[in-house]
C-alpha cells in the first residue's frame, strides 16, 4: 500500500533545487549523475556551445527589431532560454526528431533551419517554411501542448521500425496543464516510447506564474506516470546538454521515456504584443539577469583561458552574418500570389476547391481588366 496522506509541498517556484554543472559565476560544479554525459566536452566544444547561444541571442534580438520596424507581425522572444535550447538541441542526432512550440528558435537553428525559416511565418507570408523531413523538426506548434502527443506517436513509430532514434517534445510550464500533455505521458509510459519530454519552465505562461499551474515542481509529475525525471538548471548549457544526452540515450536504447524540467526564465515579453510590466516585477528580472546563461559560459571560458578577443570577434562575425541573412530573407520576402492560398488544402484534387480557384481567378482577372490589379 502506498499512502500519500499529506500533500508534497516542495515550492514549485524554487529555482535552486536543480542539477547544475556551471554555477551562475561560471564555476564548474561536479554532479555524480551528469558528469559522465559531458566528459567529452572539451574547450573547443564548450566554445561551440557559447557561439551557438550568442548567435541565437542576436538572431532573437533581430526578430524583435524586425517586428518593431513593422516587418514582422509578431515575434516570440527567447532571450534567457538559450542554454536550454542549445544544450538540448546539441544532444540530438540527425536521426532524432523534435516536436516544438513556437519559441524554440535555438532548436530550429541548431537543426538547420534557414534564415527564411526564421522570419517568413512571423511575417505572415506562410504558415511554415521549414521542411520537417529536412530539419528533423515538426511544424512548430501554436496550440499549447498538442505536439507532445505527436512526439509520442513518432516515438512509437521509431519503436515499430526498430530504429535507434528518439523524439523530443518541447513545451512550456503552462502546457503542463493541458490535457494533451497528460495523455502524452500516459501513452509514452504505457508503450515505453522512445521520447524525451523537455519542459522549458520559464516561470511564466503569458501572465500566469508557474505556481498557478502546479503546486509541486513540474518534474515531479512525470514519476506519477511511471516516467523518470530530472530537474536541471535551464540556464546551464552543460547541464541541459548532459541531461538531454542521458534521456535520449535511455530512449534510444529501449529504456523508455524520460522527462526533463529545465528551470529558466523568459527575460522578454511573451510575444512582442505582450506587456509584462502588468504582471511581473523588476526585482524578479534583476534576479534572473544575474543568472544569465551566456554570461556564465563566458565566465567559465575566461577562467580556463579560452575566451579572448579573437574568439569574441569571431562569434560577433558569425552572429552578424546570420542576422544579415535573416534581415535579407525578411526584406526580400514576396507575398505569394492570392491563388496559392487555395493550394495544398488537400493532397488530391477537390472539385469544390477547383471551382473556387477558377472563380477567384476570374474575379482577380476582372480587376486586371480595369487596370487596377489587387495583388
Amino acid at each position: 500500500m502506498v499512502y500519500t496522506l499529506a500533500p508534497v509541498t516542495a515550492p514549485v517556484d524554487s529555482v535552486e533545487d536543480v542539477a547544475r554543472l556551471l554555477s551562475p559565476d561560471g564555476t564548474r560544479l561536479p554532479d555524480r549523475h551528469l558528469d559522465a554525459w559531458v566528459a567529452d566536452v572539451d574547450p573547443p566544444a564548450l566554445r561551440g556551445l557559447y557561439r551557438d547561444m550568442a548567435v541565437l541571442r542576436r538572431v532573437d534580438a533581430e526578430g524583435v527589431a524586425l517586428q518593431r520596424q513593422g516587418q514582422l507581425g509578431l515575434w516570440p522572444p527567447c532571450r534567457g532560454q538559450e542554454a536550454t535550447q542549445i544544450g538540448s538541441a546539441r544532444a540530438m542526432r540527425r536521426e532524432d526528431f523534435a516536436f516544438t512550440s513556437y519559441r524554440e528558435l535555438g532548436v530550429f537553428l541548431t537543426r538547420g533551419a534557414t534564415p527564411a525559416d526564421v522570419v517568413l511565418t512571423w511575417r505572415g507570408e506562410t504558415h511554415s517554411s521549414m521542411d520537417p523531413a529536412q530539419v528533423g523538426v515538426a511544424i512548430p506548434q501554436i496550440i499549447i501542448g498538442a505536439q507532445t502527443v505527436h512526439a509520442v506517436g513518432y516515438a512509437m513509430g521509431i519503436q515499430r521500425d526498430g530504429a535507434e532514434a528518439a523524439s523530443m517534445a518541447y513545451f512550456g510550464d503552462g502546457a503542463m496543464s493541458e490535457g494533451d500533455v497528460g495523455e502524452a505521458m500516459v501513452f509514452a509510459a504505457t508503450f515505453a516510447a522512445p521520447v524525451v519530454f523537455l519542459c522549458t519552465n520559464n516561470q511564466w505562461a503569458i501572465s500566469e506564474p508557474v505556481s498557478l499551474q502546479s503546486r509541486i515542481p513540474l518534474s515531479r509529475r512525470a514519476p506519477g506516470y511511471g516516467i523518470p525525471s530530472i530537474r536541471v538548471d535551464g540556464n546551464d548549457v552543460l547541464a541541459c546538454l548532459a541531461a538531454t544526452r542521458w534521456a535520449l540515450d535511455r530512449a534510444r536504447t529501449g529504456a523508455g521515456p524520460a522527462f526533463i524540467e529545465a528551470v529558466t526564465y523568459r527575460m522578454g515579453p511573451h510575444t512582442t504584443s505582450d506587456d509584462p510590466t502588468r504582471y511581473r516585477d523588476a526585482a524578479e528580472l534583476a534576479f534572473w539577469e544575474q543568472r544569465d546563461p551566456l554570461a556564465r559560459v563566458e565566465a567559465h571560458l575566461r577562467a580556463i583561458g579560452e575566451f579572448d578577443d579573437v574568439f569574441r570577434d569571431e562569434v560577433a562575425a558569425a552572429a552578424d552574418e546570420l542576422c544579415g541573412a535573416v534581415r535579407t530573407a525578411c526584406l526580400d520576402a514576396r507575398t505569394p500570389e492570392p491563388l496559392t492560398m487555395l493550394d495544398d488544402v488537400y493532397a488530391e484534387p477537390h472539385p469544390a476547391l477547383d471551382l473556387q480557384r477558377e472563380r477567384l481567378g476570374a474575379y482577380l482577372a476582372s480587376f486586371a481588366d480595369d487596370g487596377e490589379a489587387r495583388a
Binding site: S177, M341, V345, A352, A362
Partner: protein
C-alpha cells in the same frame, strides 16, 4: 449615452454582471492581472477579487468542464477562451456536456454558461488566431450562438447572455474591439431586443444582404457603394446565429426578392448554407434569383498577408450582388 469601444462595452457588461449577481464569476487564462490579452476583463479582478475573476491553469477542457460543475452548484460562469482557435481542446466539453445537459436531465439541470472568445480575422494575426468556428457550434443543439457588431449590442447582448439560462457561445469580433460607438449603459434589459432577434441595419429594396459581426460595417459600406450605382441594398445584422431569425430575413427577402449572405467562415456547410436553405424553403416564390453566398474560401485560414483575399470585402460582396441582379460576376464567369 456614453461613447465606448466594443472592448470597453464588453468590459462594462461583465462589470455589471459581476456587480448584479454574486453567483456570476469569470474564468480564463490571463484574465486577472493582465486583464485578458485584449484587456476585456481589465480591472475586474482588482474590483471583484481573484475568487470572482479567476486566472485558470492553461487547460481549455478544464476551464469549460469546471464551469459545468460550478453551474451544477448554481453558479453562472462566464469563461474566456483566449482565441477562437483555442476552443477546440474544450470542444468535447462544450458539445457533449454543456450543450446537452439540460436535455439529458429532462430539464432539471441548467447550464447558464457564457463562453466568450475573440473571434475571426482581419487583424493580421498568426495561425490559429483568426478562426471562424461558428458553424460547429450552431450545428449543436442546445447552444445559443451570438455575435454582436456594435458596442451597444456587445454590452446588451453580453448582459443577456450572462442572464440566459441556456449556454451561450459569445463570439467577439476582434476587428471591432477598438471601434467606438454610443452605448446606453442604463437602458433596461427588458426593453432591449431579445437575444435571438436580427436587425435591419439599413433598409433597402433591391437585394437583401445578410451578415454578422465584423462584416456588418463592410456590408454597410457596400450598400453605400451600391447606392451610388443606383442599387438599393437592405443590410441585416443577424446578431444571433443559432437560432437565427428567419422571420426577419424572410420578410426582407419577400420585399427585395434577392439574397446575398456574407460571412468570412468557409462556405462549405457553413451558416450561409443554412440561411439560404431556409429562405428557399420558406419563400422560394418570392425569389427573383438564386441566392448567393459570399464567404471565405474552403481553406484553413490563410497566412496574414493573404487574408485580405480570403475575407469578403466590399468588392466581393458587390460581386455577389451583381450575380443576383443578373449581371456579370465571378459566380457567372465560371459555370459548370
Amino acid at each position: 449615452m456614453t461613447t465606448l469601444t466594443m472592448g470597453k462595452a464588453l468590459n462594462a457588461a461583465l462589470d455589471r454582471a459581476l456587480a448584479d449577481d454574486p453567483k456570476t464569476l469569470l474564468m480564463g487564462e490571463d484574465i486577472g492581472r493582465l486583464g485578458g490579452v485584449f484587456r476585456i476583463t481589465d480591472g475586474l479582478q482588482a474590483r471583484y477579487g481573484a475568487d470572482r475573476v479567476v486566472d485558470t491553469p492553461l487547460a481549455e477542457a478544464g476551464i469549460v468542464g469546471t464551469a459545468v460543475g460550478l453551474a451544477y452548484r448554481g453558479y453562472r460562469p462566464v469563461v474566456e477562451i483566449q482565441f477562437d482557435g483555442f476552443v477546440y481542446p474544450a470542444f468535447d466539453q462544450i458539445v457533449c456536456q454543456v450543450a446537452k445537459l439540460h436535455y439529458r436531465s429532462n430539464g432539471r439541470v441548467r447550464m447558464p454558461l457564457t463562453i466568450r472568445m475573440p473571434w475571426a480575422g482581419g487583424v493580421g494575426a498568426a495561425e490559429h488566431h483568426s478562426e471562424s468556428p461558428e458553424a460547429y457550434f450552431a450545428h449543436t443543439a442546445g447552444l445559443r450562438v451570438v455575435v454582436p457588431s456594435t458596442p451597444q449590442d456587445a454590452y446588451t447582448m453580453m448582459r443577456q447572455a450572462v442572464a440566459s439560462d441556456d449556454p451561450v457561445v459569445f463570439f467577439e469580433p476582434k476587428r471591432l474591439y477598438h471601434v467606438a460607438g454610443e452605448v446606453d449603459l442604463d437602458a433596461p434589459l427588458a426593453d432591449a431586443a431579445p437575444l435571438g432577434v436580427a436587425r435591419v441595419v439599413r433598409p433597402g429594396t433591391d437585394v437583401t444582404v445578410v451578415t454578422y459581426g465584423g462584416l456588418v460595417p463592410v456590408a454597410l459600406d457596400t450598400a453605400a457603394a451600391a447606392d451610388a450605382e443606383g442599387v438599393s441594398l437592405e443590410v441585416i445584422d443577424l446578431r444571433s446565429l443559432s437560432p437565427f431569425d428567419l422571420d426577419t430575413v424572410a420578410a426582407s427577402v419577400r420585399r427585395t426578392g434577392r439574397l446575398v449572405v456574407a460571412h468570412e467562415a468557409a462556405g462549405e456547410a457553413g451558416l450561409g448554407a443554412e440561411i439560404v436553405a431556409r429562405v428557399v424553403e420558406t419563400c422560394f416564390d418570392a425569389l427573383r434569383a438564386g441566392p448567393v453566398r459570399v464567404t471565405g474560401y474552403d481553406i484553413p485560414y490563410p497566412p496574414a498577408r493573404l487574408e485580405a483575399h480570403h475575407v469578403p470585402d466590399l468588392d466581393r460582396i458587390l460581386d455577389g450582388v451583381d450575380h443576383v441582379l443578373g449581371r456579370p460576376s465571378s459566380f457567372s464567369a465560371v459555370t459548370r
